[in-house]
């Protein structure tokens, strides 16, 4: 047994008066694995999404449109992709044409960035605040979400509402995927299933959201006076338990849907029609 050196610092686990231990954590399990996996997967998604948002091609193959580019609201959208007109026109910045995806992606990006689950995920894995429970964080100061920019996390509900609008649009995209390449109804392809699965996962992610739970009934003080809202709250509460799962699966779903549409649009694969 060796007497440990005094390592008293002004704050943190080495603060004066606390047990004089030299290690920032005494955890013996692989606490670093989960944040490492989260970091890696999110970085890979960000790289892919950034590439696709700026690529500005291969996002539409009648009747399929990539979720990264839907709704396509610019005059530079490829023919047939602008289902809701072109109210944005075309915008250039420093001589470069802005990709139509950039006007749209800010909303799902904001929804996920302010999501209560993703906050846990990236605060732990990117900001290491803390990297894991009972593992000391490296930062000298901490003010949480009390000041700019993190106080903007309180705007999660506005992104939630915007996300609902996008979900409706992506559901519309999935419905028109029951057309064939000539625009005739009554057909179904692999792309139809891909877009349907994507829209379903996004609805599940939105419906299980903490803000959805609060809006539907959580803010009430007396459930017994609002039986319908109470029922809605209980259903969303059950879904809310799986919110982290839906967050990940829907993220993969969006990326894979985009990848499928890209492959079809570029001619790398053919969209197989069942009928």
């Amino acid at each position: 047994m060796a007497l440990l050196d005094s390592k008293v610092e002004e704050t943190g686990v080495f603060s004066a008066g606390r047990a004089l231990l030299t290690d920032k954590t005494l955890r013996t399990d692989r606490w670093w694995l989960q944040p490492l996996i989260t970091f890696t997967v999110l970085i890979l998604f960000v790289i892919y999404a950034t590439f696709r948002a700026f690529e500005n091609k291969n996002y539409f193959a009648e009747p399929l449109i990539s979720p990264f580019y839907s709704p396509c609201l610019s005059t530079v959208c490829v023919e047939g992709a602008a289902h809701f007109g072109s109210p944005i026109g075309s915008i250039t910045l420093f001589g470069l044409l802005i990709s139509p995806a950039l006007f749209i992606l800010i909303f799902p990006l904001g929804f996920r960035m302010t999501c209560y689950y993703y906050r846990k995920a990236y605060y732990r894995s990117f900001w290491m605040s803390p990297p894991a429970c009972a593992v000391a964080e490296p930062h000298k100061k901490y003010t949480g979400e009390t000041r700019a920019p993190l106080i903007l996390q309180n705007g999660h509900r506005w992104f939630f509402y915007a996300g609902l609008v996008l979900n409706i649009i992506l559901t519309y995209d999935a419905i028109i995927a029951f057309k064939n390449e000539e625009g005739e109804w009554g057909h179904m392809s692999v792309g139809t299933l891909v877009l349907l699965a994507n829209a379903t996962l996004l609805w599940l992610y939105s419906a299980s959201c903490h803000t959805c739970r609060h809006t539907l009934g959580g803010r009430l003080k007396t459930f017994s006076k609002h039986p319908i809202r109470y029922k809605a709250w209980t259903i969303v509460s059950k879904l809310n338990h799986y919110h982290p799962n839906f967050a990940w699966v829907s993220l993969f779903g969006v990326a894979l849907t985009d990848l499928y549409v890209r492959q079809v649009a570029s001619g790398a694969i053919t969209n197989f029609y069942f009928f």
């Binding site: 002004e10 606390r18 013996t28 903490h210």
Partner: protein, 253 residues
């Protein structure tokens, strides 16, 4: 059937201290608190450890076992690998008094800062009948045994001593939620105070409090996040703010 287990126990006070290695017998089915008591009885007669019920209901034997905040009476020795050294230290967010006993008075000071339950004036006992659905959210939070493991693991104060002035911690966020969701509590500014005085905004939802709760209270999902959303209702949502001015009420009842 018994086996020998290796322990490394922190011994000391607020000025000095060290980890001491010791080996002790452990019988089948025993918990860490049992072997600590055996060490106390056979090898370290002056080892200080706080305990009471030995049934996971009093919240006294909170400590850190292999770096994780846990109740010693609810941690099975059999959960550790054969030959693994079990490191036992006091809670690291609070000042140590002696050995495994810490000064948790911070929590009692914070408890006193929370406005108490405020029913309508003149309400007499038995006058109101409440439906189960109206109180079940608050009842979850009443399971709290005040072990303060959530407080200990919360990085806001564990890693930042200076935040103790302005941050009540997860244990008191569930108290605030319990009261704010109570159908008979009429205090109007509990949400505002949660944000301004109890430091709700400092929580960044990393859920460690939920992970360590021995009562499995969903602290983050059922208390902290709903309270954050209620704060948004009154502070950061202009539509709801306008609605409250027009309809002259704080929120939906």
């Amino acid at each position: 059937m018994s086996k020998r287990v290796k322990l490394r126990i922190w011994r000391g006070d607020s000025k000095t201290g060290a980890l001491k290695d010791v080996e002790v017998e452990a019988n089948e089915g025993e918990v860490v608190l049992d072997v600590i008591h055996r060490v106390q009885a056979t090898q370290m007669g002056d080892l200080a450890v706080r305990w009471n019920c030995k049934a996971g209901k009093c919240g006294s034997c909170s400590m850190e076992i292999n770096g994780k905040p846990r109740l010693a009476c609810m941690t099975q020795v059999a959960n550790f690998e054969e030959g693994e050294t079990i490191t036992i230290t006091p809670l690291r967010a609070f000042p140590v008094i002696k050995d495994l006993v810490t000064d948790v008075s911070f929590n009692y000071k914070k408890a006193m800062e929370v406005d108490s339950f405020t029913p309508p004036a003149g309400l007499k006992a038995g006058e109101v009948r409440m439906a189960q659905v109206d109180v079940e959210r608050s009842q979850e939070f009443r399971k709290c045994i005040e072990c303060f493991l959530c407080q200990d693991t919360c990085h806001v104060i564990r890693d930042h001593e200076e935040n103790k002035k302005s941050f009540a911690g997860p244990r008191f966020f569930i108290r605030l939620a319990e009261l704010d969701m109570h159908p008979l509590d009429i205090l109007k500014n509990r949400k505002q105070k949660a944000q301004a005085e109890h430091g709700l905004g400092m929580c960044n939802i990393t859920k460690c409090c939920t992970e360590v709760c021995p009562e499995h209270i969903k602290i983050t999902d059922n208390a902290i996040i709903p309270m954050k959303e209620r704060v948004v209702d009154v502070k950061y949502d202009p539509v709801r703010w306008l609605g409250s001015k027009i309809r002259k009420r704080e929120g939906i009842v």
